[in-house]
Symmetry: D2
Subunit: 337 residues, 4 copies
C-alpha cells in the first residue's frame, strides 16, 4: 500500500503515519517528492486495512498495490485447477457444456431435456429447484421435489447435476441431491452461504454478481477457499450496464483475465448474459474462442411454455446445432468438445 500525504502535511503528521504503520509490523519507505510526500508500506504478509490510515491527519489518500486475493491467485497456485465431478473434468483440455432448463418444472420436462442435451454432447445437467425471482408473485421453483427429479434424471442419464442453493440453511438439503452447488449472481456476496459451501466439500459453481467486479468475484472465491474448499468453478454471466437491448452485458474479457489472474476454471453463461436465445449461439462461440473451460446453457423443450426465462432458452434441436457449431471453434483454439 502507498500512502499519499497532502501537500500541506506537516512533519509531525508524517511521523504519526509512519509510527502507526511500524506498530502494525510493517516497514516504511518515504519518498519526498516535489509536491508531496509518499509513504510506501512494505507489508508483513497480512493485508492492511486502508481506511483507518486514510482517516489520519495529513493523509490525502491511499493506493493499494497488491491484489487482495491470495489462495485464488495464479501466483499462489501456478497450475490450472481441474475440478472433477463424477468423472467430468472442468478446467482441462475438454470444454464442458452444462445444459438444461432454467427451472425444473415436471418429470417429463426435465427428463426430455436431460436426454436431449446428453444426446447432443452435454456433460452436466443444469436445472433450478429453488429459483431466486425478482417478484414474489413469480414461480419460485419446485423445491425439494425439484431436487428429487434432478436426482432421477441423473440416475437415468448418468449426467451429474448442478443446481442452485440460495440460503445457508438449505445447504444440507441440496447437498444430498446435487453434484455441483451453484451460487447465484445475487448471492455472490452472501457470506453465510459462501461459508457454508466452503465447508461442504462439494464442487461449487460460483456465478459473478451482476454488480460485481472481477476482483470481488475472486474475493468471493477466496472466502470459499479459506474455508477449505478448492473445487470452485467461476462463472461469467454478464454484468449490469446502461445497455438495455440485452439483459446483461457479457464481459468476454473477463474469461482470459480470470485465467491469467487465477488458477480456477472459468465457464460462461450465454443465456443469462444475453437474455435472448438468438444471441446464445454466437456468444457461446465467442466464449469458447476466448478460452472458456465450459458453458452453462438453458435448454427447454417448449420455451414458450417455460415458467421462467423462456426467452433465453434454446429448443433441443437448436442446442444440438449449437454443439455441432462449437466443435470446430473448440478445435481452432486447441480444445476438444
Amino acid at each position: 500500500m502507498i500512502v499519499v500525504m497532502k501537500q500541506s502535511a506537516t512533519k509531525a503528521q508524517i511521523a504519526n503515519v509512519t509510527a502507526r504503520i511500524e506498530r502494525l509490523g510493517c516497514q516504511v519507505h518515504i519518498s519526498e517528492g516535489e509536491e508531496r510526500t509518499i509513504i510506501g508500506i512494505i507489508g508483513n504478509g497480512r493485508p492492511l486495512e486502508r481506511e483507518p490510515i486514510e482517516r489520519m491527519a495529513g493523509v490525502e489518500h491511499t493506493v493499494p498495490i497488491l491484489r487482495p486475493f491470495k489462495l485464488a491467485s495464479r501466483e499462489f497456485h501456478p497450475r490450472d485447477t481441474i475440478v472433477s465431478v463424477n468423472g467430468v473434468k472442468v478446467g482441462g483440455k475438454q470444454v464442458v457444456v452444462m445444459a438444461g432448463p432454467c427451472a425444473v418444472e415436471s418429470h417429463d420436462q426435465l427428463l426430455e431435456t436431460a436426454r436431449a442435451v446428453k444426446e447432443a454432447g452435454a456433460q452436466v445437467l443444469r436445472g433450478g429447484a429453488f429459483k431466486p425471482r425478482t417478484s414474489p408473485y413469480s414461480f419460485q421453483g419446485l423445491g425439494e421435489e425439484g431436487l428429487r427429479l434432478l436426482a432421477e434424471a441423473r440416475e437415468e442419464t448418468g449426467l451429474p447435476v448442478v443446481t442452485e442453493v440460495m440460503d445457508s440453511q438449505m445447504v444440507p438439503l441440496v447437498i444430498t441431491y446435487a453434484d455441483i452447488l451453484q451460487i447465484g449472481a445475487r448471492n455472490m456476496q452472501n457470506y453465510a452461504l459462501l461459508h457454508a459451501v466452503g465447508e461442504a466439500q462439494r464442487p461449487v459453481l460460483l456465478k459473478r454478481g451482476m454488480m460485481s467486479t472481477i476482483e470481488e468475484l475472486l474475493m468471493a472465491a477466496e472466502y470459499i477457499l479459506s474455508h477449505g474448499n478448492d473445487r470452485i468453478i467461476l462463472c461469467e454471466r454478464g454484468i449490469r450496464t446502461f445497455e438495455q437491448y440485452t439483459r446483461n452485458t457479457l464481459d468476454i474479457s473477463a474469461v482470459p483475465l480470470l485465467k491469467q489472474l487465477s488458477h480456477l476454471p472459468v465457464v460462461v453463461d450465454p443465456s443469462h448474459s444475453t437474455g435472448k436465445w438468438a444471441l446464445v449461439e454466437p456468444v457461446s462461440r465467442a466464449a469458447v474462442a476466448a478460452g472458456a473451460d465450459g458453458l452453462i446453457v438453458e435448454v427447454h423443450p417448449h420455451p414458450e411454455k417455460a415458467l421462467s426465462d423462456g426467452a433465453q432458452s434454446l429448443k433441443p434441436a437448436r442446442f444440438a446445432a449449437l454443439m455441432r457449431g462449437l466443435r470446430p471453434v473448440a478445435e481452432a483454439v486447441g480444445r476438444t468438445l
Copy 2:
C-alpha cells in the same frame, strides 16, 4: 403488457398469441399498424410473465405497462406509512437521524459514541455486530457479543437500535436484541432473508443494492410486505457507477421518486454512498432538502482506529456540527429535526 409482433408475423401467429393470452384469462386489443401488429393485453389482476410470450413464433418483443409492485405502491396505499420504533416515528414530519459506528468494536467505543450521538440529537443507534466484508481476512464483527453491547447501549441511552442481519438463520438471534433489522445492500435480493424478516414482525431497514434499480428495491420491499410485514424503511445508499472518486454514487433523485411511487419512508446513508467523511455533511443536507425522512450516519470516536470504514466516519464533534447545520435545512423544507 403490450406484445409487438414482427413485421413478418403471419395471421396464424397472431391468432396463436391471442389464443394463448385469452387462455390465461386476459382480454386482447389488436392494433394493426402500418408496419406491424401490436397486441394489447388487458389483465385479470394478476401479473403476467413476459418471457413465455416473447418466445412465441412471430413475436418481436413485449413491453410491460404496469409497475410490477403492488403492496409497496402509493396507488395501493395512498397515505404515507409511518414506522414507529419504541416511540420514534420514521416517515412523519420529523427527520430521524440514526447514527453510530460502522462496527461495534468494544463496550467503550460503543457507549462513548451512543452518548455523543444522543446528545447531538440522533434518535436511533446504529452499529454492526455481523459485518459483510469483501475480504475473508477483514474484521467480521463481534457477533452476538456485539448484539449484547448494543442492547446495553440502548439500556443506558434509551435509543432504539438498528443492526444488520446477514442470513436467514440469524434472524431469531438478532431479533432478540435489535429494534430494527437492517438488510444490507449485498443482501437486498437474498430472498430467504427477505422471507424471514417478512415473518419477523419487526421494523426493517431495507438498503438498496449497489446495482439494483428503484423497481428492484420496491420489489424487494414487496417480498417483505407479501409475508405480512409492512414496517419497512427504504434506504438509498448509493449505486455503483463508473465514477471512482466516490465509493458509490448517491442517487439523490431516488428520494423524491421513491416517495412518489411508494408510501414507505425513505432514509439516506451519506456515509456509504460517498465513502468520504468530508462529503457527509453536504450530502446529508442535500438528502434532507430532497425530502428524505431520515439519515443513517457513521460516527466513530476515533475514526483512524476504526476496524472498518474509518474513512467515512465522522467524529462526534463533527456529527454535532452536522446536526446543527441540518436543522435549518429541515425547517426550510417544512420538517423538524
Copy 3:
C-alpha cells in the same frame, strides 16, 4: 507515479525501468517488498505517460499518484473563482439561477418565458438555438434565427444569455450573440471545440459528459484553461447508469467534491438529470443544499407543445414556486438567492 514490478521481475528489468525513468528527468525510489519490487517516481513537474512504462518487460502495472489536472485544481488556485457575466456573479454568495426553454422555438415562446423567469428571480436566460438531437429526424433548433431571438430577449429583459455551441466552426457566430457559451454533455471531449472556446475569451458553461468522470470533466476544463480562458462554470447534469426510471442519475456528491478539488464554480441541471418535471423541485433544493453555485432549469410556457424535452420543463407558475421554495434552503446553507 508508482511502478509495480512482477514477482518474477529480474534485476536487469528493474534496472531498465529505473534507467528509463531517469532519462526522462525523474528520480526513482526503490522499495523491495516481500513479494515484489515497487519503484516510486519523483517527478520533474511534467506529467508522465503511464503506458510506455506499463509495456516494459517485468512491469505488472503502474499507479498514478497525483491528479492529472493542474490549472483547474484548488491546490494551484486556492480561492474560489467568480465568473462575472454582465454583472451577474457566478461562484459568489448568491446562488444564480439560469432558466428558459430547452429550445428557442419562436419569438413569443421565448419572450413570454424570459419575462416570466426574470419576474421569478432568474438571472440568466437559457435557450438552445442549435440542438444536439439523438435522431436526425427531430427538431434541430432554429439556428442563427434562434440566436437573434435570444439577443432580442436579452435586449428586453436585461438577462444575459447562455446558449450551446456544438462545433468549432460555429464559435465565431455564436459568440456574436451569446454571453455564456455552453458546451453540451456530448461535446465535453470535443477537443477542437474546447480549443476554440478556450481562445474565445467568453465565459463557458461546461457540462459534464453523461459518460465522463469527475476527473475527465476537470481535464476538459484544463483544456480550456490551458488555452487562456479561466471563466469556466462547471455543470453537473447527471450521468448514465443502469437506472432507467430517471433520464440520468444526478451525481449530487460531485457538487461538494468539485468544490473541494477545484476553484471553479459549479451549477446543477435538475432538468436533464432527472428528465421529469415532478423531480425538478426536490432535486433543485438538494443541489442548493449541497453547495451548488447555481442551477440551470428548463421552463416552457406550454410544455405539452414543446418541440424538445417537454417532459422535464416547468411551467412559469411552477418555476416561480420553485424559486420561492429555494430561498429558505439557500439561506439555511448561508447563501442568498
Copy 4:
C-alpha cells in the same frame, strides 16, 4: 407509441390526448383496462416525439414500440451492406483486419509497422494523425504531417488507410489523404461531424461511444445515412462500466445484435476495449467467433516507446501470431481471413 394514462385520468384528459394525436395525423386505439386506459398510436410513417405527449395532463408515461432508426435497419435493407475500399471488401465472407500504430509518430515507425502488418495479412493500415487525448499535456498527434506519412505508407504497401477526423473543419483536409474516415468514440454524437462525413462520400468507420447504447450507435449511423453516405462500418470498441481491471468492457453481444438489427458491417477493436495487450489475442478470437466482419488492432514496433497507448499495442511478431491463430477460428465459423 403507447400512451399509458394515470389511474386517475379523466375522460376529458383522455379525449385531449386522443385529439392531439389525431391532429398529428395518427390514428388511436384505446384499451380500457381494469386499472387504467392505454392509448395505442398508429403512426403515419414519421416518428413522433414522446415528450410533448408525456407532459399532457393525465398521462403517466409513454412507451416507444418501434426502433427509431430506419435507414440503418435490416428491415429497411435486408441484405448485408459490403463496404468496398480500394478493392478491400468489408462485410463479405472475408474477415478484414486493420492494423497499425495508435498514433503516427515518425516515418520509420509507421513504415516498419505497415510492412509488418501487411506481411502478416492485414488489409488496411490504421494510424492516428490527430489524437483525441484526455489531457492537454499529452501528445496530440503529428497533424497533417501524420497524414502525409500515412499516404506514403499506402504508396509503398498498397494498404488503404483509416485515420481519425476529430472536427468538421478538418474533413476536407483528412479526406485528401484517408481512404476511410474514422469517427472516434468521443465524437459519436458530434452531429456537425456526422453531417460533414455524411456528405463526404467516403467510407466511414464509426466507433461506438464508450457510454452509448446500441440504439444510439445506430442513430449516429442514421445521421450519416440521412446525409447520403451509406458506406459505414460500425465498430464496437468497449463500453464504460464499473469494472476497472480492463480499460473498457467489450460488449461482445453487440456484434451479433448489430448484425441482426442492421445491414451494416461490424468490426471490433480489441485494443481499446481491453487496454491490455495480453488480452488482445483471446478477445480477437472471440470477436471473429461471434461473427465480426473485421478487427482494428494496434501494432507498434516498440510499444514501450510508444507516445500513446503502448500498453495495449502488440509487437509485430505477436501480431503475426495473432493472425495465424485467427485463421482457424475464422474458418470454424465459415469465414476466411
